[in-house]
Symmetry: C2
């Protein structure tokens, strides 16, 4: 738990004496969806290239054959100050200030008692190629100031194993510089990414009247302050602006024109236009929050922060990337895309940014062929989406039990796309993109289910539900119901294609008999019920599990897998996170009010909330079903998860984007936003 | 399939033009149980350090934190011949000859039409520290012969992933030389093994009257033939003998005296004494084989080969090692010890070598503390043996589904130890070693089973049986019945300890209530039955699987996982290898004849035999249950598995030791051996 942030209505601040603090670096992450950077201080005296993450959406490099990591790029957030040729001594607190309204981050501190330093940075949300920094140094005029600036090329990856209890200390450099040019006030460095052969260009330009720029043989420049020999006891202000344009060989939908004026102010003004418009749509309803929450001030900031980071982690114009589990804030889970986007984050973009939502759906459409290949590799038909994926749509999950068995992802993708189509009635998208995906996924499901010898029941064997503590089981309810939803959409899609797009209908070789088979499968998929109570339950083995005293298994909020191994947890009658409960928030219309409340009574007491997705889903369920006190309780738990580092992993792992999406969902249904349901 | 071996009653030979042939190198493996070497030719002109395996039992090195590989040691099987300072040209077939009666391997070939070369080697079975080689070269007297000999230090490992479909090409050197001394006719090199810090000493001595020995700065010597200038057109015979003594910092029960006479003949004579005695006990009954088998000549050789390699892969004097799945013949499965020893190989040693059998059981006893640690790590009680293990008794299996779920190993260990005690009535071993292991494993099982809400059934959740295509299932019959056997032995052990060794009884803190709990558990473990037929079945999910046409799934003898992935196979109604069938060979008395024949009728047609263990177990079952035609069929399939490379992996993976053990089992029950049941 951390309680040292200062929460103001539109600012998150921290005063501390530490240059280095991985929690602060996660919290003060800033980006524009395409590029993002952890909130570290460019002047910090240590060299910690691993944590100093600069990330570009979709930029993955190979760490072993066919397995990628999210590349920690060479970073222009790198400035070393020398005072009279020596490193300075920190003589004040460091003030970190993240301005949520204008999306700009500022650091201020004093060196050697008299030298005041201010560093500002933002990532243009208007021209997403650019990162802009400005540095202001106030120093006694007789002091010599020198800056080593440029690109820190020691950035590297320290791939985190999928297995949540394994650790790694080996680092790997994934960006190899292939060219370097210095020219007047700028340098251009080009990098080749290991394995994926992406090319990244970083063009860095320094504007300053106060320093003399000296080039080097590396991707560095020296800035020597131009001293004023006349006024030796006065304070002189030195400043420089640093513009970094980042391009990639995989860029799409990006401007390639040079901006008219390269100046901090010019970029900033356009950036503010974007944010003004964003907040007009996305802001909270503070009146309601003040009325309903005891700690309304903190709630207001936390909810704004949440929305702010959802905006800043989505590359809204790019249909070839999705949003990693930790956005652009960390390499945890190798930066991969999960169901997190489709199920938990998409609702925010659906409600606030049609283009972003459409592109997130297009990402899945663009990977349909990879999903076809994956199904074939598994000796199955149709298309099967991977549990974890990166740049090419291949499976990136390396643990067998999850990667092979947590297969609801394919139905989740369909659920997400259907929500986009329903929301915007995008018939073009439906007929030309979605229908094919619905049909191919239905084909996958038909080949993945196993009819028993009666021929009347189709079981989902050897699967794992959202409750990852369920072992490998049969008929996870969440999965089965989402699959039925997928099948119904495919059946309708086939009929719509037959009518509106016979070309595609024929190309896909759809037959009446397979539509009949989907229809039969949809009816023959069982809903698991507890054999004693008859209530809907997680899966076919849940009733066999051992009852356990949860207060002993999990005395505080940190995940129980830190003290009890997965193998043991799977035999306890607990759920890791919302599972049946989650299903009922997504397809509530399929369940009676009584069924929903029964499920809540059955499963809410058994939930360990060992996933950061869990609190918010419980809040959402509670608000949807009128369980007001629990809604408030879970909402507050979820809202401050990263801000207070509740699970002790915000620093080590980055921001929990899906949790943020689900909090937005709950807030939306609670009426806490300008935008009302 | 390979059919190019020449099988003679006591010899296996091959004539070929290839220096390099990984199948031949496996088949012509030779060792003395403690040391072993693949059958490669010391003179072969290529440098292929990976496949040229010299292995020392128990010598493992770390390839990643806490994971070891079986070290491919620097090897003295290394002699490069130069003729007039140039490499020779092979002008004859290479004749490989493995003499099973005397355990010696010979290569013969001709270079440059006129130079005949013979290399002999054996590993002393009398003094297991020694490997002995002799080289004889017949050349025209006017030809200059030079030999580079010594130790090839480029030997390295290419760790094979546990996952049977993954490949690796990266090599790793695990032996670092830490000292080297040359002295007269010998050199001594010491090596440090990565991670485990074992120290290995190789002392190499050359005896020759025909060569001048020159030392080098490396672990090499040059031999220059002493030419006879008088007789330039005659043929001169040059020979040298090469003795290598290998010691390790983990040696146990080994002589440390210097042999009286270091000579090929002296070592060989004592070696022959050992083998004469061995074959007196272990040989086949050729009269019966001639009577019963059509291809009796080949059967005789193959069965002798089988017995020969069982002897040559067991370090019979060492209670701190077991036998790897591929013995000393390959690093496949990282050289680890599996249930293969306890269930499939032990019967051979039990019948023929009490000391070897006892030491194999002691290996498990010596790792009881490691098994306790493993249980604790899994949040369970007692002691749990690892699926794969090497020098320190820790789990070496890296795939979750197998390592975590294929837990019958613990009951298999108990089964093996009990067989040793029953056979030799070793009461000292029983009271002082076995009882504690029985009790600790019973404690493990009590914590591993899960009582259902009725309180009358204890289910084994999330397990995997010998049939590794069963997915992750509930109540594997093999495991459940072996566990009951384990519990019964523990209950008796507790009672015996109470009476005969109260000190241990008290030290173990045995309580009446826990004995009662084991007793209750033993009764409450269910035997899975097919819900339609009521027949005993593999597990609780087997009846849900999909029927499949096996002839399509597996058109030939190569394993179906090469063409159909594990994920798909687990949903087919097939078994990978004997499972229910295997159980009934191990504890036949628990099943009626009718139950056994029913199981055969149910499961024999569903078996893919994708494990090399499977054919022989089917043979054994068939002979035990009087299904004579099938016994002969499966016995022949199994017997020639490696000799004909039936599964196309003998070269790539080494000899299938457990298969060899099970073939011996079947042969024993078929009465094909001197030793009768």
């Amino acid at each position: 738990m951390r309680k040292d942030l200062i929460l103001e209505p539109w600012h998150i601040k921290m005063r501390s004496n530490d240059w280095v603090d991985d929690y602060a670096e996660t919290i003060f992450f800033l980006g524009n969806g395409r590029i993002g950077c952890r909130g570290y201080i460019p002047f910090e005296p240590e060299n910690r290239p691993i944590q100093q993450g600069l990330f570009l959406a979709g930029t993955f490099g190979e760490i072993k054959p066919r397995i990628t990591d999210f590349v920690n790029l060479p970073t222009p957030v790198f400035d070393r100050i020398l005072i009279n040729n020596k490193p300075g001594r920190l003589t004040s607190e460091i003030v970190r200030d993240l301005d949520l309204e204008h999306s700009i981050l500022t650091f201020e501190f004093t060196l050697n008692d008299t030298i005041q330093i201010k560093a500002e940075r933002f990532f243009s949300s208007d021209d997403v190629r650019f990162m802009i920094q400005r540095f202001t140094i106030k120093a006694p005029s007789n002091v010599s100031i020198t800056i080593d600036t440029g690109i820190n090329e020691e950035s590297c990856n320290c791939p985190v194993p999928d297995d949540q209890v394994k650790e790694n200390t080996e680092t790997i450099n994934l960006s190899k510089r292939i060219s370097l040019t210095h020219h007047n006030d700028s340098l251009i460095a080009k990098y080749l990414i290991t394995g994926t052969h992406l090319k990244i260009t970083e063009q860095l330009t320094i504007h300053t009247n106060d320093f003399e720029i000296k080039h080097t043989n590396e991707a560095l420049m020296h800035l020597d302050a131009i001293m004023n020999p006349a006024a030796s006891n006065d304070i002189t202000t030195y400043s420089y602006e640093k513009f970094t344009q980042i391009n990639s060989s995989r860029d799409i939908n990006l401007s390639d024109s040079t901006p008219d004026v390269i100046s901090f102010q010019n970029f900033y003004n356009k950036h503010l236009d974007f944010w003004k418009e964003k907040w007009d749509i996305c802001d909270i309803d503070s009146n309601i929050i003040v009325k309903e929450f005891e700690n309304s001030a903190k709630t207001i900031t936390a909810l704004r922060y949440n929305i702010f980071q959802l905006i800043n982690n989505c590359s809204r114009l790019d249909p070839t990337v999705s949003i990693g589990a930790r956005g652009l804030t960390h390499t945890r889970y190798k930066g991969c895309y999960f169901w997190d986007t489709d199920i938990f984050m998409l609702p925010f973009y659906l409600a606030t940014d049609k283009e972003a939502a459409k592109n997130l759906c297009m990402y899945r459409i663009n990977n349909l062929d990879a999903a076809r290949d994956y199904a074939k590799k598994l000796n199955l038909s149709g298309a099967r989406f991977p549990w974890m994926t990166s740049f090419d749509g291949s499976e990136q999950c390396e643990t067998w039990d999850i990667g092979c068995s947590e297969i609801h992802i394919t139905a989740d993708v369909v659920y997400a796309i259907n929500n986009y189509i329903q929301k915007y009635n995008d018939q073009d998208f439906y007929i030309n993109h979605a229908t094919e995906l619905y049909i191919e996924t239905a084909r996958y499901w038909l080949s993945r289910y196993t009819y028993d010898s009666t021929g009347n029941t189709a079981n989902l064997l050897f699967c794992k539900g959202p409750d990852e503590y369920c072992g490998i089981t049969t008929n996870n309810l969440f999965t089965n119901v989402m699959v039925q939803h997928n099948l119904r959409l495919a059946i309708k899609a086939a009929s719509d294609l037959k009518q509106d797009n016979t070309k595609t209908y024929n190309r896909l070789g759809i037959s009446d008999s397979e539509i009949k088979a989907w229809s039969r499968l949809e009816k023959d998929i069982p809903w698991p019920r507890d054999p004693e109570s008859g209530h809907l339950t997680t899966d076919d083995t849940f009733h066999l599990l051992e009852k356990v005293d949860i207060s002993k298994l999990k005395p505080d909020d940190s995940a129980s897998y830190h003290t009890t191994c997965f193998d043991r947890l799977q035999r306890y009658k607990v759920v890791k996170q919302a599972d049946v409960i989650l299903l009922m928030t997504r397809l509530p219309e399929l369940f009676s009010k009584k069924e929903r409340l029964t499920a809540w009574n059955d499963f809410e007491p058994l939930c360990l909330h060992d996933s950061t997705l869990s609190f918010a889903s419980h809040a959402l369920f509670a608000v949807q079903n009128g369980i007001t006190d629990k809604a408030m309780y879970y909402f507050s738990k979820a809202l401050f998860l990263d801000i207070y580092d509740v699970m002790n992993n915000t620093g080590k792992e980055g921001l929990h984007m899906a949790g943020m999406g689900e909090i937005w969902n709950a807030a939306y249904f609670m009426g806490l936003l300008k935008l009302k349901p």
